[in-house]
Each structure stands twice: as C-alpha cells, then as structure tokens.
C-alpha cells in the first residue's frame, strides 16, 4: 500500500529520514540539549522510523481484498487488547504477517495499537507502541518462510517478541520519568514489569499455539477464495 502518493515527497522522506533527519536529531541532542533531552529525541526518532517504514511500501495498491483481510485482522488485534491479562495481539500480528506478508503485518501491528489507544488513551507512548508492534509484524513477515515451517521457531519468535517489546517499552518509561537513562531505574522497571513480561511472553506462546493451526487454515482458505 502506497502511503504517500506524492513521489517526490516519498523520495525525500525515504532518503531524508535515515540520512538527514535522524542524524540531525542526534546531533541536536548532543549539541543543543547536551545529552539531556533523550525523550524528545527518542520520540522524534520513533515517529520518523514509523514514517520511514510506511514510505518503504512501494506497491501502489494492495487491492480491496487484501485491504479487507488486513482490516479484519487489525480489528481482531484491537478486539484482543480488550481481553484482560492475556492479550493475543502479538499472535494475531504474527499470523497476519506470515500469511499475508510483512506489509500487512506491519499495518496490523501499528494500526491496531493506534485504534485501541483511542479507548485506552493516546499519549507519547503511542508512536513507540506502534513502532514496537509494527516491527514485530514486519520482521515476522520477512521471516515468514522459516516461521511457517517450524512450529518451535514460531513459538520462540513469540517469546523473543514479548521480551523485546517489554524491554523497549521500559526504556521509554525510564526515559520519560528520569529524563535520561539510568541503569538502576531501568533494572527496577524491568524487575517490576517482570510478571507482565512473563505473562506477555506466555500469552504470546499460548495464543500462537492455539491460533496457529485454525487461523492459519482459515487464512489459507481465504487467500484462495479471495484470490490474493
């Protein structure tokens, strides 16, 4: 799905973000803020990274059918976030990614966060979460061949995704709270979040185990039926 229609703007963003904007931000943080304002810098980088990934999708149109399936999977992920404690959002993103490709996985992850935050509350964490889940989907999409073959690797991916996401979000918590990075606070945050991280990793595994076959079959059938 081509996110930005204007080709020149797309080119500017594609090359400008990694080679100009992000280095500029880092330089800004080093020179002007004297290494103090990590949060604003990280937020800026997160938004730019999201933009960069989105401009990376070149194909003009993914077609109505793919669009519908992606929208349904995104809605399912949103719906899953309302389940208390056990959240199938990662599992759904991963399934979407390995059956429908990296692009669908990325949008399923990032947009489901954006939508569910309409109810859970938008905040500066939204870009980080969008980036986190988007990446979980995107990487799963690139690894789809491997993940489709091996059940064990798929579950492992679920665990890694869960832990990595937690670590990333804790970095952000510490940055917000302390204004800078502090190992002690980070360890404290990690420790206090440990039960959640564990729950998160476990629910990823559980949902991947439960959903892998039935949802995989359904998606396969739908792909044939829709002709995508």
């Amino acid at each position: 799905m081509r996110v930005i229609e204007n080709p020149r703007l797309r080119a500017i963003l594609r090359y400008g973000i990694p080679f100009v904007l992000i280095p500029a931000l880092v330089a800004l943080s080093a020179i002007v803020f004297e290494g103090q304002r990590y949060l604003i810098i990280s937020l800026g980088i997160a938004v730019l990274a999201l933009l960069l990934f989105m401009t990376g999708f070149e194909k003009r149109n993914i077609g109505a059918r793919r669009m519908v399936i992606t929208a349904i999977m995104t809605a399912l992920a949103v719906f899953g976030r309302f389940i208390p404690l056990f959240k199938p959002i990662t599992a759904i993103c991963v399934m979407t990614a390995i059956y429908l490709g990296a692009e669908a996985g990325f949008f399923c992850g990032s947009l489901s966060v954006l939508i569910s935050n309409i109810w859970f509350g938008q905040g500066p964490w939204t870009p980080f979460q969008m980036l986190g889940f988007g990446l979980i989907g995107l990487i799963a999409g690139y690894l789809s061949r491997v993940l489709l073959k091996s059940n064990l690797l798929l579950l492992l991916y679920g665990v890694i995704a869960g832990v990595a996401y937690s670590f990333l979000m804790d970095v952000w918590t510490v940055l917000w709270y302390a204004g800078g990075f502090d190992w002690k606070l980070y360890t404290a945050a990690l420790l206090s979040a440990l039960p959640f991280t564990a729950l998160y990793a476990v629910s990823n595994v559980v949902f991947l185990l439960i959903l892998r076959k039935p949802v995989g079959n359904k998606l396969n059938r739908i792909k044939i039926k829709y002709g995508v």
Binding site: A64, L111, G121, P124, K218
Partner: protein, 288 residues
C-alpha cells in the same frame, strides 16, 4: 466555536504544544502551573471523575517517592534508609517528575476524550488517504466484532456448547467463539471487498474527504499557540533549573516570568475559548 469543535489539526497542535512543554521542561515553576491548570481544566471540563482524580493522586505519590528511593545523587542528605542517603535533590526532582507525570496524564486524558476515532482518522487522512481508509475499515470491524461476539456466544450457549462451569470449559468455550468469529468475519469479508470494487475502489487515485474545515479562527489559534509555546521555551531556556549535584534555580528572571505567563495563558486557552463562547450565548439569549 467551542474548543472541541475546532479543526482536529488545531486541537492536535495545541496538545502537542502543552504536552511538549509539560514533558520536556523540568522547570518547577512551569510544572506547578501545569499541574494546577490541568486539574482545573479537568474539573471544569468534566473530563475526570472521582476515580480518575484518585488514580492521578496515586500516580503522583508513587512517582514522588520512587526517585529518592532509587536515586541517591545529590549533596544534601535528608536521612538514611538502609544505609542509602535520601537526598533533598532527588526528592525535589521526584516531586517535579511526579508533577510532570500527573499533569501529562490529565492532559492526555483530555486529549483522548477529544480525539475520537473520526478526528484521528481526519489527521491520518491528511497524511495518507490509504491509511485513513484502512483505519476506518478496521474501526468499523472492531464494532462489528463486538456485536458478533455476543451473537455467537448466545447461540453457542443455546446449543449447549458453551459452559461457564469451570475455567477450562470457559476458556474452551471462548476459543470456540473466537474461532467462529474469525471465520464468519473473514468469509463474509468478500462481500465488503466486492462492494469496494463495485464502487470503484482501486481504479484510480483516491482523494480523501472530511467533514472538518479549516477556518480563519483555526489558523489564528494555531499561530497563537505556537507563539505562546515559543515564548515559554525562551523562558525555559533562560531560567536555570538544575537538580544535581545541588539544587540551583534561577526561575524568577524577567524571561522566566514572561515564559511562565505565556505558558499559563496557553494552559487555560481552551477554558478561555469555551468561557467566551458561554458568555456570548448568554448575551445572545438575553437579547432574544
């Protein structure tokens, strides 16, 4: 025009400005103002109920205590806890951080109340019509899934296939419902796809339509917002607020005071706009 009725872009810019200053200033004076005005806006605007206020209070207390407990930088120990010094600097920093968190949470709650799905869609529609459409479809499906979840669990229950008796049955029952839900929605999605195709989706370049308009008022407000923010930022730049190793503050210089004043106006801007509107209505009514 009430504040909430402004163009979503204006509203977003406003909150970006306010939240930006709250979250990145770490200036005790501004944070005091921020905390007071956010609570005031929440009370007048009615965006927070009793539970929300209590929650904010808890966040404030926990955040205030956490920093001195873990961070032992600073030159002025107040007392020792388990051989660790609790310093004045860390305590003040903790209070500031707590104020920042609480004020930001209040503002974010306001923001979430204002940023309904159609406003989020509008903002993304400006950026990319394709994403706006995907978001819109997903939001519709979210509502649809909720309705169907209920229908499916009803019919499964009536077939005697869904039991809440014990945990395993409950989980198994829910897994059934989820499975049916996914099939139902995916299989019938083809009708939606056909409806899109038969209404010309994918044949050419899409435009994006929105019900929101940009008025002159919006532009004026946006400029006011940005000017006030800039003034606040200058104030922050000129007022020194360092916590470690010793507290060293220089908040009440002319620039600092000007910045604080600008930030106060910025913080209560929605209240001013809505107040003006209320007065105008009263005046109109008395004329009628």
């Amino acid at each position: 025009m009430r504040f909430e009725q402004l163009n979503p872009f204006t509203v977003a810019v406003y909150y970006l400005c306010v939240l930006g200053i709250i979250m990145f200033s770490m200036n005790p004076l501004l944070l005091c103002i921020a905390l007071l005005t956010s609570v005031l806006s929440a009370v007048i605007g009615g965006t927070a109920d009793k539970k929300a206020h209590l929650f904010s209070l808890a966040v404030f207390l926990i955040a205030a205590v956490l920093n001195p407990l873990f961070v032992h930088k600073g030159m002025t120990p107040l007392f020792f806890l388990n051989d660790n010094p609790i310093t004045l600097e860390a305590t003040v920093y903790g209070l500031c951080a707590a104020g920042m968190l609480t004020a930001a949470l209040y503002r974010l709650r306001d923001l979430s109340k204002v940023m309904t799905s159609d406003r989020v869609l509008y903002l993304f529609g400006r950026f990319s019509p394709q994403i706006a459409l995907l978001l819109s479809m997903a939001i519709r499906y979210t509502a649809l899934l909720r309705v169907r979840w209920r229908k499916i669990s009803d019919s499964q229950r009536a077939l005697g296939l869904f039991d809440d008796g014990n945990l395993i049955d409950a989980v198994r029952g829910r897994a059934r419902v989820l499975s049916i839900l996914i099939t139902w929605t995916l299989e019938n999605g083809i009708v939606t796809a056909e409806s899109m195709e038969s209404r010309g989706y994918g044949t050419g370049r899409r435009t994006s339509y929105a019900v929101y308009r940009v008025h002159k008022y919006d532009a004026v407000l946006m400029i006011v917002c940005i000017l006030l923010t800039a003034l606040s930022a200058v104030g922050i730049y000129f007022s020194k607020a360092e916590f470690y190793p010793v507290l060293s503050m220089n908040l009440l210089n002319p620039w600092g005071i000007a910045g604080a004043a600008a930030f106060t106006v910025l913080s209560v801007l929605p209240l001013i706009i809505n107040g003006k509107e209320a007065i105008r209505w009263r005046w109109l009514l008395s004329k009628i």
